[in-house]
């Protein structure tokens, strides 16, 4: 269990997502009304970045084929995606965002 700093809180404004490439697999960090979440960045349906997608009400929509996922639980909200996202524990301390990459687990 090791939380690593990935970015500053101000790097991800409300309703936005940011791609982080410091780990083996890219992750996406989301700001949902001030709450921060992190999931794998690659859509489980196709090789495409979710951080570029459309985030609304805690659901990220992939821009390639419009699959949707809950960023909090990783759960699939719309096909063509079938498999849930891997989600990562997040901590926000002193305006900085930390993610525990090793503790990532496949969502619901």
């Amino acid at each position: 269990m090791a939380f690593e700093k990935v970015c500053n809180l101000e790097d991800v404004s409300e309703g936005e997502a940011l791609q982080i490439e410091t780990f083996e697999e890219a992750i996406a960090v989301y700001n949902v009304g001030g709450q921060i979440f992190a999931t794998q960045d690659r859509c489980t349906h196709g090789d495409w970045s979710l951080a570029d997608g459309f985030l609304e009400d805690g659901v990220i929509e992939c821009t390639l084929h419009w699959g949707k996922f809950c960023v909090r639980t990783g759960k699939v909200k719309a096909p063509p995606a079938c498999d849930p996202l891997t989600i990562y524990p997040v901590e926000v301390r002193g305006g900085e965002i930390f993610v525990d990459y090793e503790a990532g687990k496949v969502g619901e």
Binding site: H45, W48, D52, G53, F54, E61, T63, L64, H65, W66, A78, P79, P80, C82, D83
Partner: protein
């Protein structure tokens, strides 16, 4: 306990099952599919599945029918509906009763009069996994493939088949490719790109007969031209499969006629997906033949089935892969207003948008999925946009969306 029967296990039928449970339906759900395979993703049939021969992506993860408590009856064809007895007839001995029925019977490949006299197995069409597999059997480097029809499937197939090393001849009866779905400008753009891939394209060519002589397909045209090849594929559009509905007396006109909640003229029966002629947001109604609209109609009809009908007039939305480009489209490009061409920072056309009264009505995007995601929201929400910002490829559509949504809140 109520029973909902769903006929058709494509994206519409499978989505309807899920949505019924998500809407709180606790009765039994029976899903009929006439193909034996687990529900699969059809858009891949002209692309990766044809190219690799691998299985198409599943529409739902393994075990979904237990999770959603759906009784799947795959490989089972419903031959008629008896509305009086509220039952689906499977054969002489067997029938299944229902309380509500959702028709998601899809569409079939339209046949070409000129191909009707061709011996069985000599002319391909593409709708199902079996079609894709049969076609793949005949492909290989150096094979000469004649594709009749330059619409979406014809152009997708030309791309895939060409990249498999075949020689490709594409015949289109009108004076440009893709006119119906993408309009003239994009049609010409795709034609250039396909020509660049080495596809031989002939426009204004009307096929009068397809015959086979010693294994060679002989395609003759009204102009007297002839094309010969090893493989012939007819892709001249789809026809909604409405026989069950029509034979049972439901109103149909190129699709089962429904209202914006998916209701047919029988209160117990709903229709969704390619089989349904569904009202459009901008007026009129038709079968949309798209993955995303089928999904949205299924979600809407599921709510109607459980008594929470909420109208969902549709805006056509789909995507295609042609000559290596990912093309996405929403709305009808033809219509009132003006076309704005958005250039990429490199100066290439990256998007065509139709604006009317400051609102984006339709858009086609070429390899600009990120920008297009925001365009779809602008079209759905009818936010007013600044047309100069839209035309400026250096301004991300994310920023256009943010500016427009702020302006919308102010009003």
């Amino acid at each position: 306990m109520q029973t909902v029967a769903i006929v058709g296990a494509g994206i519409a039928g499978v989505t309807a099952c899920r949505s019924l449970r998500e809407s709180g339906f606790s009765g039994s759900i029976i899903l009929f599919g006439d193909e034996a395979q687990e529900p699969y993703d059809r858009p891949s049939l002209s692309k990766s599945t044809l190219k690799t021969g691998g299985p198409p992506p599943p529409l739902a993860k393994p075990g979904w029918e237990q999770e959603f408590d759906v009784e799947m009856r795959l490989g089972e064809r419903v031959i008629s509906v008896d509305f009086h007895a509220r039952s689906l007839v499977l054969d002489r001995q067997r029938s299944v009763t229902f309380d509500k029925l959702v028709l998601a019977t899809g569409a079939r490949a339209r046949s070409l009069a000129a191909a009707r006299s061709a011996p069985p197995g000599t002319v391909h069409v593409l709708r199902t996994l079996a079609d894709s597999a049969a076609l793949r059997e005949e492909l290989g480097a150096g094979r000469r493939v004649i594709i009749i029809g330059g619409g979406l499937i014809g152009c997708e197939l030309a791309t895939t088949v060409r990249t498999m090393g075949c020689e490709v001849v594409l015949l289109e009866s009108s004076d440009e490719l893709l006119l119906r779905v993408l309009g003239r400008k994009m049609g010409a753009w795709c034609r250039d790109r396909l020509t660049g891939l080495g596809v031989e394209i002939h426009l204004g060519v009307s096929v009068t007969s397809i015959s086979t002589d010693a294994g060679v397909r002989d395609v003759r045209c009204s102009s007297g031209r002839r094309f010969t090849g090893d493989v012939a594929i007819v892709c001249v559009g789809a026809e909604p499969s409405v026989e069950l509905a029509r034979d049972a007396g439901l109103a149909c006109n190129r699709g089962v006629l429904v209202d914006a909640c998916g209701r047919t003229d029988n209160p117990a029966v709903f229709a969704i997906g390619d089989a349904a002629s569904w009202p459009l947001r901008n007026g009129g109604q038709r079968s949309l033949e798209t993955y995303l609209n089928s999904q949205s109609q299924a979600i809407c009809a599921a709510s109607s089935v459980v008594g929470q009908a909420k109208p969902a007039p549709q805006i056509p939305i789909s995507w295609t892969e042609i000559a290596g480009s990912h093309i996405q489209m929403m709305g009808d490009v033809e219509g009132p207003g003006a076309i704005v061409e958005r250039k990429s920072p490199e100066g290439d056309a990256s998007m065509y948008l139709r604006l009317h009264n400051g609102v984006i009505q339709a858009a086609i995007s070429i390899d600009r999925a990120k920008d297009f995601a925001f365009v779809t929201k602008l079209i759905e929400r009818e936010f007013e946009v600044d047309s100069n910002m839209v035309a400026d490829g250096a301004t991300g559509m994310r920023d256009v969306f943010k500016a427009a949504s702020r302006a919308d809140v102010k009003c």
